[in-house]
Symmetry: C3
Subunit: 153 residues, 3 copies
């Protein structure tokens, strides 16, 4: 089954690829590796802002992380790389806007991790770091970047 | 001397490889590079929690970073990669749970860095980033991830 | 035009490559990729310290990020890699020392990003993550690390 068909089966509609907030590019392909810039969570076109432990619930934070993951896929497509070329999601870096007493970053980051497994199966099983940060660009709740291995064209 | 013999000479007993806290995998090998997920510090089987500048001393924080490094090596072994295949520790990313007035992240991260040098010699000399964060998963004091180049099988 | 000539045209004088603050190395080359350790901002030989949202203005923070970028280039040169071998700035990781209510990390990180574009043109267009952190080594205002693809010798 193609990845696009799998997305449809899962009822996942990828968001519009967001323009970079600044002077860089969303995806750089070097050799067979795609480096994806840190993506922010858009749900229904609206940035999910706030901080875990304060004004973002675990459930909404996890959904935000999943939205970051969807934006990563949207950026790959916007870079004209068919999702079927994804050979392996190699590494996700998850930054969770957190109060100092919120320590469930792994549960939040699972929103992005489980999306990759849902969409790509074993090829979606990745290495990951998840850390708390005091604040993210535009007060986003979550930011996730990625390193993705691509099969030959 | 094999790396295992060197570990024995140093009196280093690697910990049990910790299960991922969440839905990802500890190590992804892509080409000749191993990407190791962020590892938390276990000393005598117990997670080192707390924050530098607050309830974790510089000495204990440094020992925690060393424990993260040991867990990185344990994960490599658990992924059935002999430590003798390590060609180069390429990059460590060290996240140190810190109060806003604690600025000795490099000294803490040295716990992991010096372990790599102790074990691998010049092949253990790596690039590194070390930053403060307000909180880490499960209130861990330190988290370290790694990129490691492997020699052919 | 060589990169050195371009630097001269831009009036950019690279700083003295700073010694690592600790037991690691500034640059590791693995295959055709250079991994550059997190670099701190030195302006006129003095570390830029402080925190965005507190005692570092947006303008000074952006200049600090640019200084980190210059230090990245200085480290590449100090590793005896001619800047003309830079094939692509692949990824920058920007850590911005921030109060919890400062959310303009992208504008700050642009200091480093625009430097790369100024110096390398399209080859300087990179993927990027920018996040807030509560504190950085030595109270630095900004830290930036890099992954850089190199052309064959």
């Amino acid at each position: 089954m193609s990845v696009e068909a799998r997305l449809a089966e899962l009822g996942i509609i990828l968001p519009e690829a967001a323009a970079p907030v600044a002077s860089y590019v969303p995806v750089v392909v070097q050799g067979n590796m795609a480096y994806v810039s840190g993506q922010l969570p858009f749900v229904d076109g609206k940035l999910v802002t706030g901080r875990l432990g304060e004004d973002v619930s675990l459930e909404n934070g996890t959904a935000a992380a999943r939205a970051c993951g969807m934006m990563i896929l949207a950026q790959i497509k916007a870079a004209l790389i068919p999702l079927d070329r994804v050979e392996r999601i190699v590494k996700l870096g998850a930054f969770i806007s957190s109060t100092p007493d919120f320590a469930d970053q792994p549960k939040v980051a699972n929103g992005a991790s489980e999306l990759m497994f849902d969409v790509f199966g074993d090829a979606g099983r990745h290495a990951r770091s998840a850390v708390g940060v005091p604040v993210l660009p535009l007060n986003a709740a979550v930011e996730v970047d990625a390193i993705i291995a691509l099969a030959a064209d």
